[in-house]
Symmetry: D2
């Protein structure tokens, strides 16, 4: 009953620490016949990896995946798929001084409290390092969504500090706008509002120079998701996506659709109205809504509208500034992180959030197939 | 793998519709030897039930539970516990006209899309009616937390529309402040800031008269929770609590600790600092923090500080105002709810949110016992 | 993680004791659109219920089911389905004297050891009474198999004491041969070899008169099951069916195909040979085998041949003969069961075993759909 | 919902094919603080590996494990533990000719039927090669049982063809009697009745020379297991152990205690009688039985008596004798295995069966801890 698995029909199980031999993921439930290559995995792994730009950590991690099982002659076999990413650049000395000190905002203390001791090398299992195999699994999930219904999952940064992006229509944001600036240059902060992106980059760079860090918000949008995904009453799509996002280190809040803003709204303002879609006809009307304050989910089930989720990510806990804390023995001391850390987690958070949402959708797609595809005379089956 | 179960070690499975014979919950994993009576269940069921005050729905539902199994001579046997709550007051005629219309903000359309058809009587399975057995299960969970470590879960309303409560210390809010006004009268809105409570009540009453509804925010606090609960890396305590809250109808957002406010904060502002607790001694220092922006969870594991979560609840979708929509066939029409609904969901949301968090904590407590209690020479075991 | 649930995609969760208010099952994952009525449930419940003939217990239990949820206008909704069977005829006095004595062969002692105490009324949760809701769930499962691929599950008794039935082809045994004698009279022992059936009945009646009991073997056959069900490497079809059968009280052994007889066989004797089926053609050859020593499963996956499983059921532990035992306090004493019990469990075991195998097959059918039905360009999908 | 995980509280998830890069297991739920080394793993891996003697396959597989995660400074951390065993000696040419032929008794056909195609290199995922990581996980499980209650799991061969071992008391069989002959020489067949062992070896050698194979039976005994393990009503200890054994390739039958022999027994013969144990006293009597026909389990819960299970293992399907079969296209052909295979699977089956039973017991121990250890005033908790 430990918690290193996620999903049911499409299920990932992971192991690995920041400074052990490596991280591994076993994906169970992958449909057979899907082409997967190391190159496919590298696309998102490279978006997550350190050292991409001056505003992220300068650690060197190649994050080169090895497919250990589940793929034969380039396509998935339907049996469990395993991916290993070995660790490199294990500068244990960077972390030796935290062996007996509890870093503020980190899990050092809670791991000691839970397990009686901990792998003190850079956070061990609590390090975000483990998310690299989640991203690899996310690539497999994205391919399933693409093959099944042309599903697409795109994430981007909407807020860093007080800088907020203006996004007219989340569903139309392209991966290109996220990864590249208007001039074609790299968009290191992954904010598709390029004017605001420049301001965010400036802020992050300034914070970095001060040895401090800054928080922010990312938004992830899933499009072409058919109506019907999500399992009442506990595994609502919104519930499983929220869990997926909260399972990522540093996430302090999740909302979808009108989110927390609904607190000040009237029902007459917040309700979206159902309308008949353009390509409707008498036999099979396409039901849609004239707005998307419901964020693509009603009753915990997808409506066919874009799924729009946001996550609040706290400022990096590791600082180059001296911070007061205590030792394992409770003696007052102070700590100043020597390791190389991201001054803002948001840019590298984007591919991780995309992966977790893709994994959740793949899981729910397969779960929906199990129950409803087996129903007598159903049209969804075709 | 439909989704009518929640939890692993302490696992609830439910069934029931708003206008069927009733709702039932089977709770598996209940420790043996815990006293449970129908009276115990009624305490929270009465806090949730309709008709408590003028600002909630006037439907009459006695919500009287029957314990079908798992309790012998007044105490739990350790085998599966089942509770049945029969439905009364089934005014099906109230709902007959929605058979072919899709109510804005409701799950009518998504259930049709998912299952091919639906129980159209008042939402069927998608109605919040099913939460009554969650509340009953929550009572069992609360008793486990109380017996295990004096755990306490208290929820209250912090925002309705633009009215926001001032809560100095969430951990000190008492159930009495939530349920009663300063003058000892019933506190129908469950806001412990009684000045603001009166304003909220006025607003809700006004909204009700207009046939409209209003959203809000509730906060739930769990105290005396020991450090160590939460399972890396996916079943983090924050992740499972967030899922628990998002599994409740109408929840559009969840945050804990500094939440979405962290987006504008520096790491140096947001980090809480570890200190030695008062009753510390050299052998067994008590590690705590000098503030609680981390909301009681670090690395997804409880720190021993109060767990503080907030949920945003949308305004009720059912309105007495005419709203445009379409029929199952896609033809434009309009709908005006005749049923009796809550103008604001928050007051009755509180006991449901408490129940889901208590259930999540009971589950994680048992899960922690399974793994760590079995470890050699551990002190937590005693 | 107590154990009151079985299955994953088609999942049953049960609660109830022999002398509590009743037994309840929640079935999650039922495909929508399947007709289910109380009459459907009664067919198999009546085959299981006591008092059917002189060779089974004479207890009176109507076993009348109430569908609490998941069925609307006579068909399944796709949401969780709940069935309640209330207990009647609770002769607690029959059991009062076993409060402090441990009945040989029963779970009185192990329940005390596990839970610290027990519901001593007739075995409580350990009584086979709980199997009535399994049988009800089995009816739902049988309907899914029938609708999905014309699946059929038939069980019968092959051995009681030294009397062994001669079954030429398990796949051709009809429910009629099991339930009726050649002369159309009731076949109380459910052995399709009617000559041997008469001998079995005589033996059971004699054993009953002696206040003793006798063991036996039942065989269950599932036909029309398509090739492809079963999940490597742990949830092999043979593994889940074996677990399903061993989860039934009194089962001491399970085998399929050549079973234990394989120990003395050569590979050249035991291997079945693949051949092309009659209705084969070049494009889609039908692969089958010229014999069925493999019992319909290879590599843990169904081959399309009939699934043939056998279970050994021990003689009833409750005897009218005085047996030595000890009290809870360890003091020597003796016990003589006053309750009314089956002198041989096999006749009533048949519908229970059919139900558990049908449930396992329904679960694997849905699981197969989840993963393989979602695969690109697969023919199995049609 | 694929099936590559086993267990709940102590959960193993595996991936790997016979001729892919290797096999990997992730073990979740391992209690922290348990010493584990590669040397520990090798003890049982060497008992399973090929080439140990002339009566097993002569394939060369070093089966050298690498611990990828979950162990820090030689002890388990409590986070997920991963073990990788790379494949060597991948003689794909041995298998090239089976690409389009269906080997009798193998899963070639069923994998094609289920997944649409298969990894045809030596069985891929269906090969028993995957059991090497099960054995590695079994070592971790054995250490948990040893640490928790001095638990011990010993397996041995009781039958090969018509040669049956005489085992007076299963609980007293030592690993030494299993691994060594009376003269201290290697006991390649792992039968503790050394006289019969020699006959078995002779038979296997003769069968091998004929290019044929032979079946058999193995018995596994678990001692010092406390009363109380096993979860009613579906996850009975007997049910989960049976599933564990049936999940191993080639197992056609499982029984425990009196097993299939119970079919001919009277209740008065089969019932074991409860007695007070020697070291009993008035306050805490030790309840035991004067015989063990119940095989250590009553009501699906361990009694404290030795758990005694037997598994029937079919003769190896791969033969050096020409066997008739068909191609994927249904054309008649014949096949003669060129690979090197075990003429009898039993000797190498023993450590695999021990591992699966140890894993099941570790899982149930942790599950018992979760629920019952959390109960108020329980003595089991200490």
């Amino acid at each position: 009953m430990a918690g290193n698995s996620f999903g049911q029909a499409f299920r990932i199980t992971t192991a690995g620490e920041s400074h052990g031999p490596g991280n591994v993921v076993i994906i169970d439930g992958v449909p057979p016949g899907i082409p997967i290559s190391v190159e496919d995995l590298l696309v998102d792994l490279n978006r997550r990896k350190p050292g991409q730009s001056k505003i992220v950590t300068q650690r060197k991690e190649a994050d080169h995946p090895e497919i250990l099982a589940g793929v034969f002659e380039g396509i998935t076999t339907g049996t469990s798929l395993a991916i290993l990413i070995r660790n490199e650049d294990q500068r244990s000395k960077d972390y030796s001084d935290i062996k007996d000190k509890y870093r503020p905002g980190h899990a050092d203390y809670t791991y000691d409290a839970k397990y009686g001791f901990r792998d003190y090398r850079g956070g061990g299992r609590s390090s975000a390092r483990e998310t690299n195999v989640r991203v690899a699994a996310g690539v497999v999930a994205k391919k399933i969504l693409e093959a099944a219904f042309g599903g697409r999952v795109v994430g981007y940064v909407t807020q860093v500090g007080d800088f907020r992006a203006q996004i007219k229509d989340p569903a139309t944001v392209t991966i290109d706008q996220v990864e590249k600036m208007s001039d074609g240059e790299l968009n290191p902060v992954r904010c598709p509002d390029h004017k605001v992106a420049s301001q965010m980059i400036e802020l992050i760079d300034q914070v970095r120079k001060e040895g401090d860090s800054i928080g922010g918000v990312a938004e992830v949008v899933a499009t072409n998701v058919p109506a019907g995904l999500g399992e009442p009453v506990f595994d609502k799509l919104k519930a499983d996506i929220a869990k997926a996002l909260f399972s990522i280190p540093a996430v302090l809040g999740v909302e979808y659709g009108s989110g927390f803003a609904c607190a000040t709204m009237r029902g007459s303002e917040n309700n979206d109205h159902f309308i008949a879609g353009e390509n409707s006809n008498v036999d099979t009307p396409v039901i849609t809504t004239d707005s998307n304050r419901h964020g693509g989910s009603l009753g915990g089930i997808s409506t066919g509208q874009p799924l729009v989720f946001r996550a609040a990510v706290k400022p990096t806990s590791s600082l180059l500034i001296e911070q007061p804390t205590v030792t394992k023995q409770g003696e007052p001391t102070s700590i100043k992180t020597k390791g190389r850390h991201d001054p803002c987690l948001l840019p590298r958070f984007v591919p991780i959030a995309e992966a977790m949402i893709a994994i959740t959708l793949a899981d729910h797609w397969l779960r929906w197939r199990a129950q409803c595809a087996a129903a007598p005379d159903r049209t969804q089956d075709n």
